[in-house]
């Protein structure tokens, strides 16, 4: 769906993206993560054909986005991190405007508006003006405007920022729903725990360079699990013991905390815990770490540092 080749973006006197090349398959949700100033927004804006790169090529659904920006926009929906709404227009008017702007045939406009209103849970609010909507509803309207033309690729820049937990959960469900409906999503966010709920792959960028492109987040999540052990005092013996276990990988010791990866097999975990306790290691906590994405991200960033 997205093919990026040797993408370079520069502001005067500063190179923001350095020769990025990657591709993302159709019907996937790719999380774009990285620290502030890494170049995430610039990359998203280049893919959306809103900013022109210095060099390189971006194809979305087989169209060179900078050669044919208007044509490519028929396949792309984009929601910026800071977006605005026409405050004095109602939800329906805002969406009607977008159907006109996207050149959707008049006979199909009503259907498109109803589809997006239903999908985004805006039915009860469709006659409210944008200025009367809550933050969460505004976000939904923003997404609705970005996807009303049923794009093949939906790009969302920090879509969950400022949302309450319930709205975030709804958003996560929506992402999966959209993916299942055939869309490809590229989502940038700082909240890795949330990205983990729906992302298939993770693209990590730092200082304008790709640090890692993990193409299997969810499946590895199913097969493996990250375990954290906290000990009373620092214990090298546990580390040595775990290192000898074939099923324990990616072992990391950080003072009194040990992280390692094992197969997601509860019987094995039970046996391991009993063994460690029998060996009288000073264990205080033993639990599965939920946010493997965060762990993977930090691992990748550390590798990048080295």
């Amino acid at each position: 769906m997205i093919k990026v080749n040797n993408l370079v973006f520069e502001y005067p006197g500063k190179r923001v993206l350095h020769n990025l090349s990657f591709s993302i398959s159709a019907q996937r949700i790719c999380a774009l993560v990285g620290p502030n100033g890494a170049g995430k927004t610039t990359l998203l804006r280049c893919i959306a054909a809103l900013d022109r790169p210095f060099s390189g090529r971006i194809d979305v659904a087989g169209i060179d986005v900078h050669q044919s920006p208007r044509l490519s926009h028929k396949n792309i929906g984009y929601l910026a991190d800071f977006f605005g709404l026409y405050e004095r227009l109602t939800v329906v008017q805002s969406l009607k405007y977008m159907t006109n702007a996207y050149g959707i045939a008049p006979s199909q406009q009503k259907e498109a508006i109803n589809w997006v209103i239903e999908r985004l849970g805006l039915t009860e609010h469709k006659h409210k003006k944008a200025e009367q909507l809550s933050r969460g509803l505004r976000q939904r309207l923003g997404i609705a405007k970005a996807m009303i033309h049923k794009p093949e690729l939906l790009i969302l820049d920090e879509p969950a920022s400022g949302l309450d937990p319930e709205a975030r959960h709804d958003l996560s469900e929506l992402m999966v729903e959209l993916k299942n409906a055939g869309m490809t999503l590229l989502v940038s966010s700082h909240i890795l725990a949330e990205l983990e709920e729906y992302s298939d792959e993770m693209l990590i960028i730092r200082d304008g360079k790709i640090v890692d492109h993990q193409q299997q987040i969810q499946s590895s999540d199913k097969d493996d699990v990250m375990v954290q052990i906290t000990t009373l005092t620092r214990s090298n013996d546990i580390y040595q013991y775990l290192s000898r276990q074939q099923k324990c990988t990616q072992i990391e010791v950080n003072d009194q905390t040990i992280h390692f990866c094992t197969p997601a097999d509860d019987h094995y975990l039970h046996e391991l815990m009993v063994t460690l306790l029998n060996m009288k290691f000073p264990i205080v906590e033993f639990f599965k770490v939920q946010h493997t994405m965060q762990h993977n991200y930090l691992q990748s960033v550390k590798r990048g540092d080295k």
Partner: protein, 432 residues
């Protein structure tokens, strides 16, 4: 219906907005009518309605257009529009008409009142032509306002209502000051152009239509850039050609020294192109990279406007030298060429070195100091003989050439270009 137009119809379709301003304008015109019946005279109603139309469109309409565009940027809705499938042309006319939809209501009332009140005073053809001119002035003002807003947006990457409104106000006052007396004088005047006499109203009609068309073309071109299309400087080249042909037709040029006038006009157009051009470092790098890679089509697309203008300016200088053999034309023309090179390099220097703050305005201030402040100071110090250091020397009827007078311009241009090239290389290294 154009999406932009429709959106503005929704926004302006509140009963209050639909009634209040047209009512206010109607009452004002009625008051003018009542007064004109009693004391102001028969033609005063026509004058007041024309003035009302011009004030509404030139000031209020233009302001509405720029405010609407700036709102899009400040309220972060512009990206939604840029992501849509609307083309540059649809966006251009949608914004021009849509954003000014509301001022058009009272302005149309004023125009109707003008037609009715002038019906008995002037021939119908004249009335139609005047109405078209008024319409063209209105569109010109709206177009210029949008052009101005897009231009500032492209130059500074943000909207500036203070800057935009100030420029609009100056243009508005100028248009009102120039056009209003002309509109009152149409019947009694003729205009000479390339030695032929034309009725003034016809000349004004065609001129206003053509200049309005150029403003709309310029808006369209900037809109294309906003939508990520690449513009080549071809249209700019045609614009220069049009300007040279248009202004050369007036008798103050036609009967004077045409080659000097063309040299002067191409100099102004190069200056204009210099400030209108996209002089961002990244664009300059794209241009130089395309040239060094011999990608000529890409190089042509990224060619700065001042480059094209300078070529025309150079050709004008050669023509001037060819036809003015009895004067010290070579020194004058070459000084002009070098001073222009220096001015270009000043603008580029500030654009490349962003740390100096506002790039174009800083360059403009430096250039104005060099041209407008230093020469009078030299004159005050009784050092007129040194004026050639800052302005091209006078053209005198002497075939002998004082070659030394070229040196200051050449040296200044050389020094500035060395600084530009050094800064350019430095920024290149920083970027890598």
């Amino acid at each position: 219906m154009n999406p932009e137009l429709k959106r503005n119809v929704w926004l302006d379709s509140t009963p209050f907005r639909q009634v209040i301003i047209p009512a206010a304008v109607s009452l004002f015109l009625y008051l003018a009518f009542a007064l004109s019946e009693k004391s102001l005279g028969a033609s005063s109603m026509a004058i007041i309605s024309v003035l009302t139309f011009m004030v509404i469109m030139i000031f209020w309409g233009a302001r509405s257009v720029s405010d609407s565009m700036m709102d899009e940027i400040n309220q972060h809705t512009w990206d939604f529009q840029r992501m849509s499938a609307m083309g540059a042309w649809s966006m251009t006319w949608g914004k021009l008409v849509g954003s000014s939809l509301y001022p058009w209501f009272p302005a149309s009332i004023a125009l109707c009142v003008y037609i009715v009140s002038a019906w008995q005073l002037v021939p119908a053809v004249f009335l139609v032509k005047t109405s078209i001119i008024l319409f063209a002035i209105a569109i010109f003002s709206l177009g210029f306002s949008l052009l101005n807003t897009l231009f500032i947006l492209r130059k500074t990457n943000k909207s500036s209502s203070r800057q935009t409104n100030s420029i609009n106000l100056v243009l508005g006052i100028y248009l009102l000051a120039v056009m209003y007396p002309l509109l009152n004088n149409f019947t009694s005047r003729n205009q000479e152009w390339y030695g032929e006499m034309y009725s003034f109203i016809d000349f004004a009609l065609y001129t206003s239509l053509v200049f309005t068309a150029w403003v709309i073309i310029a808006v369209y071109r900037l809109m294309r850039q906003e939508l990520q299309y690449q513009n080549s400087p071809l249209v700019w080249l045609i614009f220069i050609g049009f300007q040279l042909v248009y202004w050369s037709g007036f008798n103050f040029v036609y009967n004077a020294n045409p080659t000097l006038a063309i040299l002067f006009m191409s100099l102004i157009l190069t200056w204009f192109g210099l400030y209108f051009s996209d002089n961002h470092l990244t664009t300059l790098r794209r241009f130089t990279l395309s040239v060094s890679n011999k990608q000529w089509l890409s190089a042509w697309r990224y060619t700065p406007l001042w480059c094209v203008s300078y070529v025309i300016f150079f050709a004008s200088a050669v023509t001037f030298i060819t036809y003015n053999t009895q004067t010290n034309a070579v020194v004058f023309a070459m000084s002009c060429l070098f001073f222009m090179l220096r001015d270009i390099s000043i603008v580029l220097f500030f654009n490349i070195n962003k740390r100096h703050g506002k790039t174009d305005s800083s360059a403009l201030i430096i250039t104005l100091i060099l041209y407008l402040l230093l020469p009078p100071i030299l004159q005050l110090m009784n050092a007129e003989s040194l004026l050639f250091m800052f302005i091209p020397g006078e053209i005198i009827d002497a075939p002998s050439q004082n070659w030394a007078h070229i040196l200051p311009a050449l040296l200044q241009a050389l020094i500035m270009w060395i600084l530009v090239i050094r800064s350019y290389r430095k920024q290149w290294q920083i970027a890598h």
